[in-house]
């Protein structure tokens, strides 16, 4: 491989060894690296030094938008655009508008949460160097990987390889960019 590789990938057979390896990669000060796991490993975020996800902020924004959409929709259609007396009730009241605004709060929160999650994750992304690794299928099944990217300032082919080997990584392979 002549060109700079995308990074290095190391294999781990079980959760505890991945967890401890993640701690040592974190402590070595790497920034652009990742763990590949077939399921969300409880506590791995901390071992990787990840901050709390910001998805909830996007959800909150979606929820507020949904509530205001519901309320203003009912106010504008009933009290502004076409006033119609129904059953002697007021043109607008937050009381009868509440159920619809409530449902729209939930609907918009759901969309904001999911779209926010995809945007933060950079998905959909159907092409990725990691997906080209011939063993990646096992990362969806029962094996765990750590990937350290070459663009990390601390990346050095020999030293990073040594770090992964010390941490217990097997089959350390260069990933084609």
């Amino acid at each position: 491989m002549s060109a700079q590789p995308y990074g290095l990938i190391a294999t781990f057979d079980d959760v505890p060894s991945l967890y401890h390896a993640a701690e040592s990669v974190r402590d070595a000060g790497y920034r652009n690296w990742d763990c590949i796991t077939p399921f969300p490993v409880h506590g791995l975020d901390k071992a990787m030094g990840l901050r709390r996800s910001i998805v909830p902020r996007i959800s909150l924004a979606g929820g507020i938008t949904g509530f205001l959409t519901g309320m203003s929709l009912i106010w504008w259609t009933g009290a502004v655009d076409y006033k119609l007396i129904v059953g002697g009730k007021p043109y607008f009241s937050p009381m009868f508008a509440f159920p619809v605004a409530y449902e729209l709060t939930i609907l918009f929160t759901a969309f904001a949460t999911i779209i926010g999650m995809f945007v933060l994750n950079g998905l959909p992304m159907h092409y990725h160097p990691v997906l080209k690794y011939d063993q990646i299928r096992r990362g969806m099944d029962d094996t765990f990987f750590i990937v350290i990217e070459a663009r990390d300032p601390r990346f050095n082919l020999e030293n990073t390889k040594a770090l992964l080997a010390r941490a217990g990584g097997k089959a350390i392979t260069e990933l084609e960019a």
């Binding site: 959760v15 505890p16 990742d34 590949i36 796991t37 077939p38 399921f39 969300p40 490993v41 409880h42 506590g43 791995l44 975020d45 990787m48 990840l50 709390r52 996800s53 998805v55 909830p56 959800s59 929820g63 009912i74 259609t77 009933g78 655009d81 076409y82 119609l84 059953g87 009730k89 009868f96 508008a97 159920p99 619809v100 409530y102 449902e103 729209l104 939930i106 609907l107 929160t109 759901a110 949460t113 999911i114 999650m117 995809f118 933060l120 994750n121 998905l123 959909p124 992304m125 159907h126 092409y127 990725h128 990691v130 997906l131 990646i136 299928r137 990362g139 969806m140 099944d141 029962d142």
Partner: protein, 477 residues
């Protein structure tokens, strides 16, 4: 105070006392490996289509054709081909709508409320239960949409500008219901799809390795390039938790709003404040009935006993028992309030339910909904899978009759005795309702053939070997 006791020398006998060992129920039996779970669930999809599947599928398509026939005839003729007439203007259509919507509620309860309550046993049944929710909402939606008569104007239900420049009446619970049910359907699909993404990635890679490019491409398209990255999982887990958090008030609100369709009216027997909690409990009760009806055969056919254990069945039976008992309490409380409220019309409505022309329906409802779940007190019953399955069918039947009793008896004997009537369904209604079981089965059979019936990622995460401290997860948490 505790500190003072701690420092004083304990009685020698107390030092010998050890807390009882209460082992957690094992969620995946026989200590199966991650790979075993993948092979088991993917094997269902990758294997040859079994003969029984084709037989069921053809049968389900045949049954579904009854709905197609019923609806085609209705659209071609008019909504008068259904049996409702004054005073019973809501009948089987609304009964069936509430029945199917209610069934969906167990799916959301399992996926959302049990997720928030950290009931890990939900993992093996949540995927199929959510699928059940979506398909039940599809079946439910058929009835109100075609009950509007001119179905090509059904879009009038939504605030879309139209040539009359008139808007929907947002004071009406029926309009609230439009928003509740469409939000419920949409959020259920989103929740289900988000849960499916990691499993679709598994299938994508397996089909790719097996050389099946077409299926690898199709699963891959919907897997959105998922690669199991923990940076992704971190956002994913948070998003999943929020979806569970918002689905919980959603599921409670949907059947509450469905009950408002009745409770906000002035009709004796409908106009009661107990309706929202009573409808929600009934919905969960009927939904768990349906989950048991579906999961027990699935477990037997695909030999999933290690994943759907006796503990899971016990849990489901106990929820059925609890909600069924709440429903029974609500029946009693309705009668009490009818008497205690001293309103003669209300009192008449309830006496008429139990002893009037529709008494047969009332007593079917009582026996199926109040007596049936009481069998689940007994461990021997819960461990007899065939009996549990039969009882779950009774629950389904009983909950259909509950909606029939509430809707039809109140309308058939309203305020004006001169307009009293007796409602019977027409053959078109019977066809349409019968066929929805086919529609539901067709969708469910396609689901179990093409999508993973259990969330593999979530199942793996509840096994002991998923614990970062080396497999003591069950004992510690």
């Amino acid at each position: 105070m505790a500190h003072a006791e701690h420092s004083s020398p304990a009685h020698p006998l107390l030092q010998e006392v050890r807390p009882a060992e209460l082992p957690r129920a094992v969620l995946v039996e026989n200590n199966r490996s991650f790979n075993w779970i993948t092979e088991k669930i993917c094997g269902i999809i990758e294997g040859k289509t079994p003969t029984w599947w084709w037989i069921c599928f053809v049968l389900a398509c045949f049954v579904a054709s009854f709905t197609v026939a019923g609806i085609t005839y209705l659209v071609a003729t008019g909504v008068g081909v259904w049996g409702h007439a004054n005073p019973v203007n809501w009948a089987w259509d609304i009964v069936n709508f509430v029945f199917w919507i209610g069934i969906g509620h167990a799916g959301t309860l399992i996926s959302a409320i049990l997720c928030l309550l950290r009931q890990k046993w939900r993992t093996s049944i949540n995927r199929a239960a959510e699928a059940m929710t979506i398909f039940a909402v599809v079946c439910a939606a058929i009835f109100p949409v075609f009950h509007v008569g001119r179905v090509w104007f059904a879009w009038y239900l939504f605030p879309i500008p139209n040539s009359n420049a008139i808007w929907q009446n947002f004071r009406s619970p029926l309009e609230w219901d439009v928003f509740a049910v469409s939000t419920y359907g949409t959020v259920s699909v989103l929740f289900w799809y988000v849960g499916l993404i990691p499993d679709l990635a598994v299938l994508r890679d397996r089909f790719f390795a097996a050389g099946n490019r077409l299926r690898a491409t199709l699963y891959g398209l919907f897997a959105l390039g998922w690669r199991g990255s923990n940076r992704h999982w971190s956002n994913y887990e948070m998003a999943y938790l929020i979806l569970a958090g918002i689905s919980t008030p959603l599921v409670l609100s949907v059947h509450t709003i469905v009950s408002f369709d009745f409770a906000v009216s002035l009709l004796p027997g409908w106009h009661t404040t107990i309706f929202p909690p009573y409808f929600v409990a009934g919905a969960i009760f009927s939904g768990f009935g349906m989950v048991l009806t579906l999961m027990l055969p699935l477990r037997a056919v695909y030999k999933l006993e290690d994943l759907i254990t006796q503990y899971h069945i016990d849990c489901m039976c106990k929820i059925t028992l609890a909600t069924g008992t709440i429903v029974g309490y609500a029946y009693g409380m309705e009668f009490f309030i009818a008497w205690y409220g001293a309103n003669p019309y209300e009192g008449f409505a309830f006496v008429n339910r139990a002893f009037g022309h529709y008494a047969w329906a009332y007593w079917i409802m009582i026996s199926c909904n109040v007596i049936t779940p009481q069998f689940f007190w007994f461990k021997a019953v819960r461990e007899n899978t065939a009996l549990v399955w039969v009882l779950s069918i009774f629950v389904n039947v009983g909950m259909w009759f509950e909606r029939f009793v509430i809707i039809v008896t109140s309308l058939a004997r309203d305020f004006l005795p001169s307009s009293w009537g007796y409602y019977s369904p027409s053959i078109v209604e019977i066809f349409t309702f019968f066929g929805t079981f086919g529609v539901f089965s067709v969708l469910f059979l396609l689901f179990i053939r093409f999508l993973p019936v259990m969330p593999m990622a979530e199942l793996k995460a509840v096994t002991p070997q998923a614990d970062v401290h080396g497999g003591h997860g069950n004992a510690k948490h």
